[in-house]
């Protein structure tokens, strides 16, 4: 049993995960995931449009991000 777990762990590394992502994901899928993260982060933190910026004011303070 112990050996089984060890073998399983030995065959699963960060490198394997990258290989697996290459095998099972398409470029657009990765692009969508990265774009989603970027869009969320940008919207919440950096958009300077006064409407959006001010309406997220309390959120930014609650999250400990200050910009003024």
């Amino acid at each position: 049993m112990q050996d089984d777990t060890d073998t399983a762990r030995a065959t699963d590394s960060v490198y394997d995960r990258i290989e697996r992502a290459r095998a099972s994901l398409t470029g657009p899928q990765i692009a969508i995931a990265v774009a989603l993260v970027a869009a969320l982060g940008f919207t919440l933190l950096f958009v300077q449009d006064p409407m959006l910026h001010d309406s997220l004011h309390n959120f930014r303070h609650s999250a400990g991000i200050t910009c003024h």
Binding site: A8, D16, R17, A21, S24, L36, D54, S55, T66
Partner: protein
């Protein structure tokens, strides 16, 4: 397979975000509004949106904040780093949550602690953004080094192992010593600033812990899955 990870990360993120949105709704909004009474003049001549909009948008922002962490940390990073993160089950998730907190909040706050409204900082916004970004990178580096130290000390005594894992945290003292002075001025009493800061810290900790807990509860993937591959995975 990888999309399972993204999905689980997003679900855990939304769950954490809802809890955090509730925190913003009950504590964050009122606390921030109360502290604003110490504010003499708001930089750009006052907010351009109504109180209600700010309240609702800030709660929504809290939910999206959780979704962001869920997708980025537990959807993307967890998929790639799972074999390298110490522990198993819920411990593994908490380790990643701790690394996430350190990167996004913990390390940057050592130099740039959360400031309540009504407090003006001497350093310009651009300078602070640059420092914040640099400290996030350092936080991520420290987390990775701690993980590596934990792996490298596999056959050592637990105390040695924990000591080696905690050692990279000492790196965080470097920017604290080097950072430019950032004197603040405002009329918010020091005790209230402290209460506000710790509220913010606990808010973020609850967010990360909830995402980690829900992610562990959603289960799956402690056993390396081998589906969706074109070639047979058992080559023995």
């Amino acid at each position: 397979m990888a999309t399972d990870y993204l999905e689980r990360g997003a679900v855990a993120g939304v769950a954490g975000g809802l809890v955090y949105g509730l925190f913003v709704a009950t504590v964050g909004n009122a606390f921030t509004a109360g502290l604003e009474t110490f504010e003499h003049s708001h930089g750009g001549g006052g907010p351009v949106v109504s109180e209600l909009t700010t309240t609702v948008a800030s709660i929504g922002g809290g939910v999206l904040w959780g979704l962001l962490f869920g997708i980025a940390a537990f959807g993307l990073a967890y998929f790639f780093l799972e074999p390298a993160i110490p522990g198993s089950g819920a411990t593994k998730r908490l380790a990643l949550a701790g690394a996430g907190f350190l990167t996004v909040s913990g390390a940057p706050w050592l130099v740039l602690p959360p400031q309540p409204p009504g407090v003006e900082q001497a350093l310009g916004t651009e300078t602070r953004l640059a420092w914040y970004a640099g400290l996030m990178a350092l936080g991520a580096l420290v987390a990775v080094l701690a993980g590596l130290a934990y792996q490298r000390t596999e056959h050592h005594h637990t105390a040695v192992r924990l000591g080696a894992t905690a050692l990279p945290l000492a790196l965080l003292a470097v920017p604290v010593a080097l950072a430019p002075a950032n004197p603040v001025h405002g009329d918010v009493p020091a005790a209230l600033v402290a209460a506000y800061r710790w509220t913010v810290v606990f808010g973020q900790l609850v967010l990360w812990a909830t995402i980690a807990g829900v992610h562990a509860w959603l289960g799956g993937s402690d056993v390396p899955a081998t589906d969706d591959l074109d070639y047979p995975a058992t080559a023995d």
